[in-house]
Amino acid sequence: MGTSLDIKIKRANKVYHAGEMLSGVVVVSGKDPVQHQGLFLTVEGTVNLQLSAKSVGVFEAFYNSVKPIQIINSTIEMVKPGKFPPGKTEIPFEFPLHVKGNKVLYETYHGVFVNIQYTLRCDMKRSLLAKDLTKTCEFIVHSAPQKGKLTPSPVDFTITPETLQNVKERALLPKFLIRGHLNSTNCVITQPLTGELVVESSEAAIRSIELQLVRVETCGCAEGYARDATEIQNIQIADGDVCRSLSVPIYMVFPRLFTCPTLETTNFKVGRAQWGRGTHVSREGSNSAFARLTKGRPSLLTSTTR
């Protein structure tokens, strides 16, 4: 059992806002005294962009990825070369989350084509005989809550076979009428999406009603912009043939790591607030329709066969 290195960030949830003080300790522990050539702490923040295979070729997608954009990068030497005593040594650190120049601390985001990540890295340089020790630790940056109260913008919607787009033979669709409303189309990311949905009538038995959360990511690159919509999560809100004219709640907690507030920069763009609702209407067990709403406007994306 050799020496181990660990970073402990003070906040349990590891969430910080721009301008706040990030503090914590680096823990060095080992049975024997540790000889080292210096202990360094690096803060790094990058935006990684990946091109979608759809907009460019597969190879290009693989090789031609856009260069990461650096948001923040600084290194300090925490401890001068020397020796740690045996046992546990805690070295506290603290630094303000500020960026140089006109750069902005974007929110941490793990998407498909866009990744924004912040890491703390601690390196212990050692002599030639021993390997250098490294420990990385991600911390999360959230942008400060918006000032002023968000005005809710409720929206009502109705779905019928007629409102569906991209349907080849509309006549084959069973008749149905679904009404509903969303409490707001602008959502605070920490609050769940809420609303209600009422199946007024449906000719065929309903098998399932699902709520789909979709994001739109746009990346800029040499060939121009690539825009992609991908599913974040899919939540079932009704299972089986629900009672008619009884409101079923719409409720979805945003997965925090995979969503971020709508963001637009020169190089990339991330949009959320896209949500879809799927109604699987079973008739003879094969046909299903899929409906999607964007910002409250029903629009049909595709029709698949289950």
């Binding site: 009603i209 991908t230 629900v242 009672c243 409720y251 799927g278």
Partner: protein
């Protein structure tokens, strides 16, 4: 060497002692018969001549003559003792071996009984009674707790109790330990203020009502429902478990085409965190299914214990997914029970884990903590759980898993639970299948009641939501499903009952009357509300239902025939009425209305299920006439096609209810249809069970002995049924139980002064219950008691008639005893009956009993079975014989059978009996015989039987009698000494020592030590006891002290001299 001595040896060693006894007995039995050899070895020629001259039997003399002829000394035993050449040491012709002085000098010692003055001894032995002044301390004086005062210090009910104990000045050690309050009165003290406070402080009670945040013990917990549901909802169809432990490729197919493959896999990983396998288990029987679920429960615990939290979560998700599957719908309630067990386990594990994170080294979180006390790490972990669960794709697992960890909201915020519950309630609306959704509601109510019982609103919301979706049950989707599964509506609807009952129960718990009324109204409004009605009846307070019984009957009648089965409704109503009483005026009408419907039920099963419940109501409020009518109706319904065969449990329960309410058996048996009802139990095992129940109740409730012919007839029949069920395969325990019950009945039968009637009852009982030994034993005891009762009534002076009756009793016993199997039961009963016969002046009968007992002794096996284990019987025999000897003392000799014929016979039997090789029991018995004979030689015996002349008055201390007696003593002593001699081997020295000492004590107690030879013998025994250092020094010292003390008493001066001759061996 003295020839006499040799003769003695010849007898003891040369001739087989057992034979000699036998012959001796023969000779005694037939006076004047010639005998080749006998036991008696006269040493003292003169004495012998004297005695034999007086001997009533001629044979003695002849024997004495023979004695001389066989005076050939045989090889003596090597005693093995290194003889100190004492005065008695002699060399034997047979060998140059040395003998120890006791046995060496052993001649036949004459016996001289000490004269006893029992009265004087008794007087001197009795403790002097010292009158105790009131208030004096005495340890056995009862501690009287005069008062246990409770003082109410404050309203909150903290009490201090004081109690003053008895007036004795010395503090009682027991109560002083307990700070002056004994634990019982302490309990009473603490319980009391609570009761009074509750009664008086009504405002406080009200407050308690309002906030009732704690579920009281009157709330029937889920655990008690669990087993019932599992037992009731079963299936024979094959079940399947479908577990996707891996990725759900099939279901993800609905994703948009815009989603790249990479994204899809990543999203799938969100659902299923590790790659696994899809398991589909088909064709499981119900038991397999239960086992699988149990395995899953175990693997959940294992995964959790091995820190595989994700796997644990996955198991839970997959399990709760099973609840969306309604394929074998009859099993659904049981499946719900099984799977919610897993969810409960999971919820507990998560809660405990987060709770343990809040515990620092320093402080432990109190039970009622607030979120501020919870540290960040715990909060973060808790949030993580909720986020993770919120992203579960499917609705039903998401609902169940979140509900299972509802309690964890306490870590996050104070209002967490109260916000979550309504949201989860709404979420259930998304569940389309009405059965699945009602069970989801039941689960939510269950969790809600556990975590936050004060949040009633969401309970009510659940109920009203349910009412809104109620119509779905009759919708197409459900109907189609039922057709596919081949399930009828009347069997489908009861599947809702457990869930609905639970929801209703939660709502109605401590609910105000108005809410209940409102709920009822809302139920009424819906069409086909039988299902609701049933749940209302099973969940609401019985009092509430009972007061509205007539309304309910009306509603039940209006229900649709095709839906929920009506008999279930009546059953539920009946259950309520059994618990709570309806208004007095309605009672008969209720019964009439209900029974009108019940009696029309076609299916005997449905009918009997209903009737079973209503019988209780009938028994409770009506007389035997109504009960008889009801029973008649049951008989009428159950007899066709032998329908009763399928419903024994229900019929049994009807009987139980009836007998529980009719404690007076004369009334019970006058219920016209009761016995015909019993006839329906035609399967023997069930019939016996029912009979047992009846007898148990009879034994429990019958206070007075009875002679009511109705009761006797009926119960004899019942007992006969029980008795006749006994066969070779009946278990011991079962027999014991039956015998106990029958005995209980026999003891309760009394014809008062009509003893003859009583005896004829016992005769009848004997003929009926001959297969149960304990019953026969009981009968014999009862008859003996009867004889003694007669004696008591006649004050000991039997008239001609009563004497004949008593002899009849005795005869009864005499012919009954041989039919018993247990040898000691027989022996003891012979003895006991003999004593009774003796007490009733039936001398020849008593003789017969004793002779029978004596002739039975040789049959006593070496080992007997006691409680299933084989034990040596000798100790029991010893015990019995000692008892027997005490009786023999007072048995007068038969005028034609010679002196002490019974004792002689008994001695013969003892001699012949094959004793254990290494036991001294035979000698112990001989010692007892010696005591008996000593007692017999007294002028007046220690005790007598009233109106029976014992040998003391018969012989009047005749010297011939005494001589006979002494002769017997000598023989017995010779046997004892003989035995002592055989114990001279190394391993037996200890036994020799103790036996020697006990013999010494016997001589000391009963012998006249003024006789020189006896005196010498006792000295020798003393030496023998000490010789090998085996004696306990303390005992020896005590014995010596006792002798010295005795010597100071009058007429005991000779003991002083004896004491001087008894040296104490010091151990060096």
């Amino acid at each position: 060497m003295a020839p006499a001595d040799g003769a003695a040896w010849a007898l003891r060693e040369g001739a087989c002692p057992s034979q000699s006894w036998r012959r001796g007995r023969c000779s005694l039995g037939s006076a004047g018969g010639s005998l080749p050899l006998t036991i008696m070895a006269p040493t003292d020629g003169a004495a012998w001549a004297l005695r034999s001259g007086a001997c009533p039997s001629q044979s003695w003399r002849r024997r004495a003559a023979r004695r001389g002829l066989c005076g050939r000394a045989t090889a003596p035993h090597n005693h093995g003792g290194r003889g100190r050449a004492g005065p008695g040491r002699e060399l034997r012709t047979g060998g140059p071996r040395r003998r120890g002085h006791v046995t060496g000098k052993m001649a036949v010692f004459p016996w001289h009984s000490r004269h006893r003055n029992y009265k004087a001894e008794f007087a001197s032995c009795r403790l002097e009674a010292v009158p105790l002044e009131f208030g004096d301390y005495h340890p056995l004086k009862p501690i009287t707790v005069t008062e246990s005062k409770t003082k109410k210090v404050s309203r909150k009910g903290s009490t201090s109790s004081t109690s003053s104990s008895s007036s004795s000045s010395v503090v009682d050690p027991l109560s002083s330990v307990l700070d002056g309050t004994d634990p019982l009165s302490m309990f009473a003290a603490t319980a009391d203020p609570a009761a009074t406070a509750a009664a008086t402080d009504s405002s406080r009670k009200k407050r308690e009502r309002e906030d009732n945040s704690i579920i009281g013990s009157d709330f029937e917990p889920w655990a008690s429902k669990r087993g019932e549901i599992l037992a009731r909802y079963t299936t024979t169809e094959k079940l399947s478990i479908n577990l996707f432990m891996g990725s759900e490729k099939g279901k993800a197919g609905t994703a948009t085409s815009a989603m790249s493959e990479k994204v899809r896999t990543r999203l799938e990983e969100l659902d299923d965190f590790e790659e696994g396998s899809q398991k589909e288990l088909l064709n499981l029987t119900q038991q397999d299914y239960v086992n699988r679920i149990e395995e899953l429960n175990q693997s959940l615990k294992d995964a959790w214990a091995s820190d595989q939290k994700v796997k644990a979560l996955k198991i839970v998700i997959q399990c709760s997914k099973l609840l969306s599957d309604t394929s074998v719908i009859q099993f659904y309630p049981s499946k719900f029970v099984l799977i919610t067990d897993i969810l409960d386990t999971f919820g507990k594990l998560v809660y405990e884990r987060i709770f343990s994170m809040c515990v620092d080294n320093r402080s432990v979180l109190p039970d009622h903590f607030s979120p501020e006390n919870v540290n960040d790490t715990a909060k973060e972990t808790c949030l993580n759980w909720f986020f993770k669960i919120a992203s579960i794709r499917e609705l039903i697992p998401r609902f169940y898993v979140e509900a299972s960890i509802l309690k964890c909201n306490k870590f996050l915020s104070k209002t967490g639970i109260s916000e979550c519950l309504p949201r989860l309630t709404c979420m259930i609306r998304g569940i389309g299948d009405p059965l699945v959704s009602v069970y989801a509601r039941a689960y939510l109510c269950r969790v809600g009641m556990e975590v936050a019982p004060h949040l009633k609103e969401s309970l009510n919301k659940n109920f009203f939501d349910f009412l809104l979706t109620f119509k779905q049950i009759h919708g197409d989707t459900v109907q189609n499903q039922l057709v596919v599964q081949g399930v009828e509506l009347p069997s489908y609807l009861p599947l809702y009952s457990p869930a609905m009952d639970w929801i209703f129960q939660c709502i109605s718990y401590h609910a105000p009357e108005t809410l209940l009324t409102e709920m009822m109204e809302r139920c009424k409004k819906l069409g086909n509300n039988a299902l609701l009605l049933n749940s209302v009846m099973s969940a609401f307070r019985a009092e509430f239902i009972a007061t509205r019984s007539m309304d309910f009957i009306g509603m039940i009648k209006e229900c649709d025939e095709s839906g929920f089965p009506k008999h279930l409704l009546f059953r539920s109503l009946g259950l309520n009425l059994a618990l709570a009483d309806p208004p007095e005026s309605d009672r008969l009408q209720i019964l009439n209305e209900a029974w009108k419907v019940i009696t029309k039920l076609k299916n005997p099963q449905d009918y009997v299920n209903c009737a079973e419940v209503w019988v209780e109501y009938t028994c409770k409020h009506f007389t035997k006439r109504e009960v008889s009518t009801v029973l008649a109706d049951v008989i009428k319904h159950m007899t066709p096609d032998r329908a009763f065969e399928d419903s024994y449990p229900q019929l049994q329960s009807i009987i139980k209810k009836v007998i529980a309410h009719f404690h007076d058996f004369s009334v019970l048996f006058s219920v016209e249809k009761f016995l015909p009802f019993l006839d329906m139990f035609q399967k023997e095992s069930v019939r016996v069970e029912v009979c047992k129940c009846i007898m148990e109740v009879f034994i429990k409730h019958q206070q007075e002995p009875t002679k009511d012919p109705v009761i006797l007839n009926a119960l004899l029949h019942v007992c006969k049924t029980m008795h006749d069920s006994v066969n070779a395969l009946t278990l011991e325990d079962e027999k014991r139980m039956l015998a106990y019950l029958i005995n209980g009945f026999i003891k309760m039968v009394s014809f008062g002064r009509d003893f003859e009637q009583q005896l004829s009852f016992y005769v009848e009982a004997r003929s009926m219950f001959c297969n149960l030994e304990p019953v026969l034993v009981q009968l014999i005891h009862s008859v003996n008691r009867l004889a003694m009762e007669t004696r008591k009534v006649m004050k000991g002076n039997h008239s001609r008639k009563t004497a004949a009756f008593v002899r009849a009793c005795v005869a009864y016993c005499f012919i009954t005893i041989p039919s018993l199997v247990g040898i000691f039961a027989r022996l003891n009963l012979y003895l006991h009956s003999g004593q009774v016969a003796l007490a009733n002046q039936c001398l020849s009968q008593a003789d017969a009993f004793f002779k029978a007992a004596i002739s039975l002794i040789p049959e006593v096996p070496k080992m007997i079975n006691i409680d299933g284990k084989m034990r040596p019987s000798e100790s029991f025999l010893l015990e019995f014989l000692c008892n027997f000897f005490s009786t023999l003392l007072i048995v007068p000799d038969h005028p034609e059978h010679g002196v002490l014929s019974l004792v002689r016979e008994l001695l013969g039997v003892i001699q012949d009996y094959t004793w254990e090789d290494n036991s001294d029991d035979k000698v112990r018995i001989y010692t007892c015989v010696l005591h008996l004979l000593s007692a017999m030689s007294q002028e007046t015996y220690l005790y007598h039987v009233d109106k029976v002349d014992s040998n003391d008055s018969l012989y009047g201390g005749d010297s011939k009698f005494l001589a006979e007696n002494n002769k017997l003593c000598e023989t017995v002593m010779a046997q004892i000494l003989e035995h002592l001699k055989t114990l001279a081997k190394d391993e037996a020295l200890k036994r020799q020592s103790s036996l020697g000492l006990s013999f010494f004590n016997s001589i000391l107690a009963h012998g006249d030590l003024r006789n020189n030879r006896l005196n010498q013998l006792s000295v020798n025994l003393w030496h023998l006891a000490q010789r090998h250092g085996c004696a306990d020094t303390r005992t020896m010292v005590k014995t010596l002290e006792y002798i010295k003390k005795r010597s100071r008493q009058p007429d005991m001066g000779h003991l002083t001299e004896l004491a001087l001759r008894l040296p104490l061996q010091t151990r060096t």
